[in-house]
């Protein structure tokens, strides 16, 4: 399998710089998710890896082979598109066979691969159906099947779940998870959906304005965002930001109306401009204790999974806290909160984590 090495890759469309000088390695035999909001350049980056777009400047290597100008057909990769692509007027079986026909495989091998892939994706019963008869979810499974049946070195997924209806979406996501666990290929998956990214990725490459701002395993990127953007984009709700007017720096310590204790920032204290705290890191209690801070509930939102969100007010500072359903507090009630120092993330003026 190949590593994908991007060296100073840039792509512009007229005045728009879609991908801006990216140097990055996508490790072999892993699932890397390119995650970011619409227009951040993730699809353009994937299309350049596929050879469907040519970089304005920079190079793309599969291991140490320069493929920047190599046409798609010769890159030995599979790709699943956002729009479920099927070859019309043919059966599911024929759809899965078509990419294998140019691989010069024996009829037995083709048939084996088609059956294996159909088993893996749970579409064995549909093999003889015409593709037009199937719903979008199954069509997308066929597209996934086509991409993996050829056993290419690299498989690319361009938001494959986006255009699928909600029930088929879950089923398809489950199938993909299963498929990814079995494959040893280098997989690149583009999405704007953080849940998909968190579920499927070995590592998430977070993109913003044409650059990769952070690349780390899902847990790490969630717990230790390297930028305010990463903290805001990942998580629902995004991280709480405590702006500089609500914090005070004294030597190496940082205080805020949110904390009862002083947070030690060491030698970086003077650089700290914003603090970040996840909603679930705020422990909310209904009884007073010496180490807790008092807050008032100003909004209560319905949550899922036995939890809901509270908007808490500490004087002029407002934050969101995720609490268990049993807490039973209502708007206007008083609560007491504590936060562990290690759960506080510090950002400098440029929004970069310290």
């Amino acid at each position: 399998m190949y590593d994908i090495n991007l060296k100073n890759v840039t792509k512009g469309f007229g005045n728009l710089q879609a991908v801006n000088d990216i140097t990055f390695t996508i490790p072999k035999s892993s699932v890397t998710v390119l995650l970011g909001p619409s227009g951040c350049g993730k699809t353009t980056l994937m299309r350049m890896i596929a050879g469907l777009e040519t970089p304005t400047s920079g190079s793309i290597f599969f291991d140490d082979i320069d493929v920047t100008r190599v046409p798609t057909k010769r890159r030995n990769l599979g790709m699943v598109f956002q729009y479920p692509v099927i070859y019309r007027g043919t059966s599911v079986k024929r759809n899965l066979e078509l990419p294998l026909l140019s691989e010069k495989l024996s009829a037995g091998e083709i048939s084996k691969r088609v059956n294996d892939v159909a088993d893996l994706l749970g579409i064995s019963g549909d093999l003889n159906k015409m593709v037009e008869e199937l719903d979008n979810g199954t069509r997308q499974k066929i597209a996934v099947g086509r991409a993996i049946a050829r056993q290419p070195q690299i498989i690319l997924f361009d938001e494959p779940i986006t255009n699928i209806d909600i029930t088929a979406k879950l089923e398809l996501k489950r199938s993909l998870k299963e498929v990814f666990s079995r494959l040893s290929q280098t997989i690149v998956y583009v999405t704007h959906d953080q849940t998909e990214a968190m579920t499927l990725a070995d590592q998430i490459a977070l993109m913003q304005d044409g650059v990769i701002t952070q690349c780390a395993p899902p847990k790490e990127i969630y717990e230790k965002p390297k930028s305010q953007f990463a903290g805001w984009f990942l998580g629902n709700p995004g991280i709480n930001f405590i702006e500089k007017e609500h914090i005070s720096v004294a030597g190496s310590g940082i205080n805020s109306s949110l904390f009862s204790q002083t947070i030690d920032a060491g030698s970086h204290a003077s650089q700290v401009k914003v603090l970040g705290v996840r909603a679930e890191a705020i422990e909310v209690k209904t009884t007073q204790s010496p180490e807790a801070r008092s807050a008032r509930v100003v909004r209560k939102s319905l949550g899922i999974g036995g939890q809901y969100l509270l908007d808490l007010e500490y004087g002029s500072l407002k934050v969101k806290a995720r609490v268990a359903h049993q807490l039973g507090r209502e708007i206007g009630d008083q609560v007491w909160t504590t936060i562990t120092s290690s759960d506080v993330i510090m950002f400098n003026e440029a929004g970069v984590a310290i």
């Binding site: 798609t72 057909k73 790709m79 692509v85 007027g89 078509l98």
Partner: protein, 312 residues
Amino acid sequence: MSEKVEKFESKIKSTSTARANKRMSWLLLAPVLIFFAMMNILPTIWMLGLSFYNYTLTSANGATYAGLSNYFDFVKNEQLSQSVSRTFLFLIIAIICQTFLGILIGVLFWKNDKMPGKRLALTLLFTPMVVTPIATALFWKLILDPTFGVMNYFLTSLGLSKVDFLTSSSLAFPTLIVVDTWMWTPFMALMTLAALGSVPKAELEAASVDKLPIYRQVTTVIWPHAKFILMLGILLRSIDAFKTMDLTYIMTNGGPGDRTELIALSLYRFAFKSFKLGYASAVSVFLLFIAIALTAIYLHVLNARKKAEAQA
């Protein structure tokens, strides 16, 4: 009680508004419907009736009922049957050439998406299609003129002998096909471009990722999408080519002999040279049936496309 009355009154009101709306829509449609009836339906019925009569404008006798004799005459008339088969031959050869060249040009433009000056080239390419056929016929007649034409000037400059394209019995018919092809190939190129434009980009990209060879790309990706628009193009051209008259009338006037006499020109002669209106009407009815048959196929293709789209 008063509530009931109010309800009843509002019902009457809404019914009368609906009636007024309906009347208004008929009123607005009336000019078009009257025009359509006067210019299309009545003449067609008139023609149908006339086809059962012997009626010659230059004859002192009025119209006499002739039953199906005009139709029998038409079937028996060898010259006319030749004219019909010549028209079909013209239609088939011209459309094959136009479709082939149109697809070729369309694909070239489609493939070379970033060709500099593409827009200008496309505009120039489509010029023949927008010129009035009469004008096209006239300037081709001048180009091909044995004495003054530029074509013969070039031929003689190359040391070749002069060719009389339009009066040569072997060349007149092919020349007519060439000029028709010159005029209508851009239309088929346009239809090809539209047809290729209807193929989803993702499917083409998937085919190239899946390493499908070009013939498989054509059969499994391009053709299923492009076939409808291409077939519509061919059908529209067929309906139009069947009625070709302006080219032959100006360029050859059916000659030499009857070598380029197409059915529309024959019809014109019967109606407006010999003034045999009854007979000409019978021929027109025949042409009408062919046009209806072609239109039926056209509608069938349109419906098939709608069905396929609904399935997708």
